[in-house]
Each structure stands twice: as structure tokens, then as C-alpha cells.
Symmetry: C2
Subunit: 239 residues, 2 copies
């Protein structure tokens, strides 16, 4: 407001630079955390395996101190667990964790759905459903599982709270750990695609209560399947 000088290219470049500095800039520790999160989520770091801080730092070209900061962040997400004086390990969620997570999911997902949501939030649900359908159509089992997680994230998204969104993201990351630990790589996500479609239709028609009512049995079935899948063979994954 103080000058009428038209914006020059150098102004624009400087603005871009400032934006980069302010937006893109994550701390090294956070970028390390993201890298580890990725490997854990993809199952390359198996549940129960140890993450030696020196080795991690060497591979990523960062110091041990930085790795330790990343570990603190990931421990807060429950992806890693710290055993005092022994190191950090990829978490191995047990059935108690699964029960705990599903109790939380029932409250979060049902509560968010019952409250309804703006049309763009419902559109996000539709996007996740279509993503799953497309993945099934081309036989991409992994992508079906990913899309299914996006679906449930979008349900919580209806609640319009970033804090709930974050918790849901964390819990779904934990669920991936459960799948990896049980060697049951998102096998049975397929069976929920049609339910997802029905739920989405109800949301699009504005019948949030019916959608919420349908979610209870949906999650009960899902929990039961997961528990049944991990209960028999609980093989440890040393190193």
C-alpha cells in the first residue's frame, strides 16, 4: 500500500523464495522421520525390527542426534517403541492395540459421519471410493488397501477437525503395521469396497444417520477379521 511500483520479476522470484523458505522447509529431523515412516509403512522395516541409530544416520547421511530427534517424533506416533538402553524398534501392535484402535475408530468415524459434512468433504469420500474401484478393476491389491484407508480417513474428515484427522492417520499407520506383522498384506480390503460404495451413496443422499448406523456392524466385522487373522500365528520378527 505504500508504493505504486508494479511488481517486477525479481519481486516475484523473491516472493517465491520466501515462500519456499517458509513452507517447504522441514527440519532435517522431520525429513528423516518421514523417510523412516515411509519405510515402515511400506513394510520394508518389518515390525519388531531394530533400528540402530548409527546405521540409520549413516544411510541417510545425518548425525545420530538428528536420528534421535526423528525417533522421538515417531515414538509419539506409536510407530516405534523405545526400550530403554536397548534401542528403538518398529512397533508390533498386539490384539489389545487393535481393540483399542477399533474402539477409537467407532467413536471417531461414526461420530463424524453422524454430524454430516460439507459437500466437498463428501466429495472426498466419493474420491476415495472411486479410487478403490479403479484399483480393484486393474487388480492392484495394494492400491485397494490404500484406497480403503483413504476412505476411512475421509469419513473422519467429515468431522472437520484437524486433530481428529491426525489421530486417524496415526491409527491407520498402526493398522498397516498390524497387517505387515501378520503377513496379511491388505488381502481382505476387497470385501469392503461394495460397503464403501453403499455408505458413500447414503452420505451423498444426505442420510447421515443411516450411514452412521451401518458403520457399526461394518467396523465390528472388520475388527473381528483382523483379530482372527492375527490370533493364531503371532510369529515374532527378530532383527
Amino acid at each position: 500500500m505504500t508504493t505504486s511500483r508494479p511488481p517486477s520479476q525479481s519481486d516475484a522470484l523473491r516472493a517465491l523464495g520466501n515462500a519456499r523458505v517458509r513452507v517447504v522447509q522441514l527440519s532435517t529431523a522431520s525429513r528423516v522421520a518421514d523417510a523412516i515412516r515411509e519405510q515402515v509403512s511400506e513394510g520394508l522395516f518389518r515390525p519388531g525390527s531394530k533400528l540402530p541409530e548409527e546405521a540409520i544416520g549413516e544411510v541417510l547421511g545425518v548425525s545420530r542426534n538428528t536420528v534421535r530427534e526423528a525417533f522421538v517424533e515417531l515414538t509419539g506416533d506409536r510407530l516405534l517403541v523405545r526400550e530403554p538402553n536397548r534401542g528403538v524398534f518398529v512397533a508390533v501392535p498386539d490384539s489389545a492395540a487393535v481393540v483399542d484402535i477399533y474402539r477409537a475408530r467407532r467413536i471417531l468415524e461414526i461420530g463424524a459421519v453422524k454430524g454430516g459434512g460439507s459437500t466437498d468433504l463428501v466429495a472426498a469420500v466419493r474420491g476415495a471410493v472411486d479410487e478403490g474401484m479403479a484399483a480393484r478393476a486393474r487388480g492392484d491389491v495394494i492400491a485397494v488397501g490404500t484406497a480403503n484407508q483413504h476412505f476411512h480417513r475421509s469419513l473422519v474428515g467429515l468431522g472437520g477437525s484437524t486433530r481428529l484427522d491426525r489421530l486417524m492417520r496415526q491409527m491407520l499407520a498402526e493398522m498397516r503395521l498390524v497387517f505387515h506383522a501378520g503377513n496379511l498384506d491388505q488381502l481382505f480390503h476387497q470385501g469392503y469396497l461394495d460397503d464403501n460404495e453403499k455408505l458413500c451413496r447414503l452420505l451423498e443422499s444426505g442420510d447421515f444417520d443411516s450411514a452412521a448406523d451401518a458403520l457399526g456392524p461394518y467396523l465390528d466385522r472388520s475388527e473381528a477379521e483382523v483379530l482372527q487373522a492375527i490370533s493364531p500365528a503371532r510369529q515374532a520378527a527378530p532383527n
Copy 2:
């Protein structure tokens, strides 16, 4: 079961030592985080104030690396915010944060209440209500606020999920920040004590649906009061 030798004192001491090592032992970083959390929660570190890592480390007798690890933990809790290359500051939750938190609280508290809970979980609610009544009786305004937070935590506790419990704890810590930032130190918690009593009665009578129905307007009123209290004077608290 392998030996009939009676437990000696040295056995007991060793067991105590092991218990200490395994249970009590928090990392120095976690203890530093707890110490900072305490100060922030009590309002001694004001919202917006800067926490220089060197000074903190000096006061607590730990190195800067340890302080940085604690900062990572507290940033994850949203109690501190990191401004790249400028340092960490005590968070100053704005009205958007308040709205976000109340959206989450409505879903969490109402969902947990609607699901009911075991008698001991309901007993915890009763304990929090009585705690508030006792605090009011002896005119301890601060304790009334604390008891009120315990009450809402115990409501979420009905959900039986440690993950929801943790999120609720974090959000209530954020709310304390809101109170401290607005210089409205839990002044108006008193006005909710009687509602808490009524809600508790409904829970004890097993009428979870009525309790859940009453909770919506309760939280609406609470959110409105907080927003109204912080909207006029949003004074910054530099250094």
C-alpha cells in the same frame, strides 16, 4: 517356582531396583519434556514466549541436544510450535484452534458417553464431579478448573481407548493455553459444576443417551463462552 528359598532383603532391593529401572526410568528428554509441560500448564511459561534451548538446558542441567528432543515431543503435543531458524515458542491457540478442538470434543465426548462404560469408569466420572464440588466448597477456583478437566477426561475415558484418552489430554492441555493466553484463568468453570452433576446422575442411572443428548448444548455453550472471551482482546505476549 524353581526354588523354595525365602525372599531375602537383597532380593527385594534388587526387584525394586529392576522395577525402578524398567518402570520409573524415563529418558532425560522425557523428564525435561514433563518439566516444561508442567510450567506451560501452570502458566509460568506464558503463551507466545520463547524457549531458548540453551537457557532451558542450563536451568535444568541438561545439554541442548536433550532439550531439543524434549521440544520434538512437546511440539507433537501442540504445546510448543517451532518457527524454523527462530526457535520454539509456547503455542498461542487462536479461535480456529478452539473451534477445531470443540469439533473434536463433541465427537469424542458424546461418542464415548453414548457407548456407556463399565461401572468403574462411571465411578471415575463421579470422582471428578465430587472433586469439583469439594473445590468449590473451599473456594479454590484453580482446583475447580482442574476438576472440570478431569470430568471431561473421565467422560472420554468411558470410551475405553487409550488413544482417545491421550488425544483428550493433549487437547485439554491446549485449552489451558487458551485460558492463560486470554488471562481468563478458569474463571467460568464454576458455572458447569451443576451440569456435571446432572450428567453424572444420568450416567449412574444408565441413561447414556440422555447424557449424550445433554452434552451437545453443554459443549456449544462452553465453546461460545471461550470464543467470546478470547475474541475482543487478543493481546500478544512477546518474550
